[in-house]
């Protein structure tokens, strides 16, 4: 198996301890939890998505664990500005704040709260189950461009997280790039539904939800591939990664780093166990030689 040489990496304006990043919305609600994921081996952590107003989220069930995947419709619960207090002891750590809003102005406002508090921003333009937010904006290239532009004013590196629930994800990557994005992240969850036959209703309280986990890995690889072809900025891969070999595959498709979320259901030690397989001190390859190599 391909192995990489270990050590800190600089990805789109953010210095990470390794290539493995905690994906937004998983164990990222409190500062203590983010710190715990860093101590368990994550090279960087993305926070729960924070918006302009506190939100309690959708009624449950919010998460359904199914064979090979997870379905969720959390509904972007978040404490809004109160979240800043969670970051007090993390100002020198590789923390990226995930933010959302309903308009470019709201993106700009929420982004400004985080100046000097985190190393970068990730724009959630991709959550598939929060009406008026996320993918509602992220499926309009003009909105993607404007929200990116507004968030950039905070002076932080901006990563734009894209939805796979569009015909051509490349178009949205280009829109983000035009708006000044430092990187694109692909993908957020795939819009999906399951029905409990016993209950005769959808398994999620919200009905529609987002699919994540190993089942979406091939979709994520395809999206990373298309973005790598279309964009000049780095692509960060996300979706279904659960092994070191998945990380390498994402990188070969064009990812400079990867985010891991659903694999945490197996164990919260996923980062250190993947890292142990992925890195080799002697004879590890330089990631630069791997990223996008499958395109040659």
């Amino acid at each position: 198996m391909v192995a990489l040489c270990p050590g800190p990496v600089d990805i789109a304006g953010v210095r990470l301890n390794n290539h493995l990043i905690l994906a937004a919305g998983l164990l990222g609600t409190t500062g203590a939890s983010l710190a715990r994921m860093l101590s368990l081996g994550a090279g960087g952590v993305v926070t729960k998505s924070i918006g302009p107003e506190p939100k309690t989220g959708h009624a449950g069930p919010c998460v359904a664990v199914i064979d090979g995947a997870i379905l969720n419709a959390m509904g972007l619960p978040n404490p809004s500005k109160d979240f800043l207090g969670e970051l007090d002891r993390l100002s020198h750590e590789p923390v990226i704040a995930s933010i959302f809003g309903g308009t470019p102005e709201e993106f700009g406002e929420v982004a400004s709260w985080f100046a000097g508090k985190v190393q970068g921003l990730e724009l959630n333009l991709s959550c598939p189950h929060a009406e008026g937010y996320g993918a509602a904006l992220g499926s309009d290239p003009e909105m993607v461009r404007e929200c990116t532009r507004a968030a950039k004013r905070a002076g932080l590196p901006v990563w734009v997280k894209l939805t796979p629930n569009v015909c051509s994800i490349a178009e949205f990557g280009i829109a983000a790039q035009e708006g000044g994005a430092d990187a694109v992240v692909a993908i957020n969850t795939v819009k999906a539904m399951r029905i409990s036959t016993g209950m005769r209703r959808p398994v999620l309280g919200h009905g529609m939800g987002g699919l994540s986990g190993p089942a979406i890995f091939p979709i994520a690889v395809r999206c990373v591939w298309e973005l790598y072809e279309a964009c000049d900025i780095p692509v960060i891969g996300c979706g279904g990664v659960s092994t070191a070999d998945n990380v390498v595959e994402m990188m070969m498709a064009g990812a400079s780093a990867v985010e891991i979320g659903s694999a945490l259901i197996e164990s919260d030690t996923i980062f250190s166990s993947v890292a142990q397989q992925l890195y080799r001190r002697d004879g590890g390859e330089d990631a630069c030689d791997i990223v996008g190599c499958a395109h040659d």
Binding site: L27, T30, P61, C62, A64, I70, D82, G198, F217, I265
Partner: protein, 270 residues
């Protein structure tokens, strides 16, 4: 503990295994007190005392509840979802996902200390013959949960705040009287301020590490991924690393007895 089981596939990808919400029929409803009812259902889950389940009330919400038996939950009506459960009748269907969490690990001589509906996760200790002494508290005699059921099955000691039954006062007085250091495991569940007082007593007797406390935090997923139940300063998840934590761990907690978080993640002081 129901960690999602995983298996490797051909491509070396980990496959997550389903954690189903099992549809169960409510078979029997017991009116325990004016505000507490036990709902027995058509399926029995293999659970340890202190493990919980996520209860899906169709069309309303999914909420965490201790398994008060392999086939039962005991619910206090406090709001929308619990209120909706109270309007369900025998024959209605709810979903049960579980058992979840770590549960109690009773060893040697076991003392249980319960306040209010906190008796629910402790009840199986008696059913399974794992408890030697059971201290049960409530505000008033009519609110005592399982008092008649437990009587005779365990050395039951009762306290009521208003003195209408048993000791007049709090469970903490009975705890002092019982000499906590003479027990190997002290399992506790009740209002957090009560648990904090119990921990202080155990600590004073030098046996905080023998205390096992079942915590209540807001839970959205119940399976350890969303982060809504994480505690400070460890970041440990109540749904997966807990809900039972030992007293020595809680003594290090900056959160226990001080605040918890609501559905949005904002801190709410006790």
């Amino acid at each position: 503990m129901t960690a999602a089981k995983t298996r490797a596939t051909l491509w070396g990808v980990l496959m997550i295994e389903e954690i189903p919400s099992e549809p169960v029929v409510i078979t029997h409803i017991v009116r325990e007190t004016a505000s507490i009812r036990t709902f027995e259902f058509s399926r029995r889950f293999e659970a340890q005392a202190g493990q919980f389940c996520m209860v899906w009330i169709p069309g309303i919400d999914e909420i965490p509840m201790a398994l008060s038996a392999g086939n039962a939950i005991t619910v206090q009506k406090v709001g929308e979802a619990t209120g909706a459960l109270f309007s369900r009748s025998e024959g209605d269907v709810i979903g049960i996902k579980g058992p979840l969490g770590n549960g109690f690990s009773p060893e040697g001589r076991v003392l249980a200390v319960a306040g209010g509906v906190g008796a629910a996760p402790l009840r199986p200790l008696v059913t399974y013959g794992q408890a030697d002494t059971f201290i049960l508290g409530a505000r008033t005699a009519e609110e005592l949960l399982y008092a008649d059921e437990l009587n005779g099955k365990v050395d039951l000691r009762i306290a009521t705040d208003d003195g209408t039954r048993g000791h007049h006062g709090f469970v903490t007085a009975l705890l002092e009287e019982a000499d906590p250091a003479s027990y190997d495991t002290i399992c506790v569940c009740g209002p957090e301020m009560m648990m904090k007082a119990v921990l202080a007593i155990l600590d004073a007797h030098g046996v905080a590490d023998r205390g096992q406390f079942s915590l209540h935090r807001y839970m959205k997923c119940g399976v350890g991924i969303c982060g809504s139940c994480c505690c400070d300063p460890s970041g440990l998840r109540v749904c997966r690393d807990g809900p039972v934590f030992t007293g020595d761990v809680l003594l290090q907690s900056s959160e226990f007895g001080r605040y918890s978080r609501d559905a949005s993640g904002r801190r709410i002081p006790f």
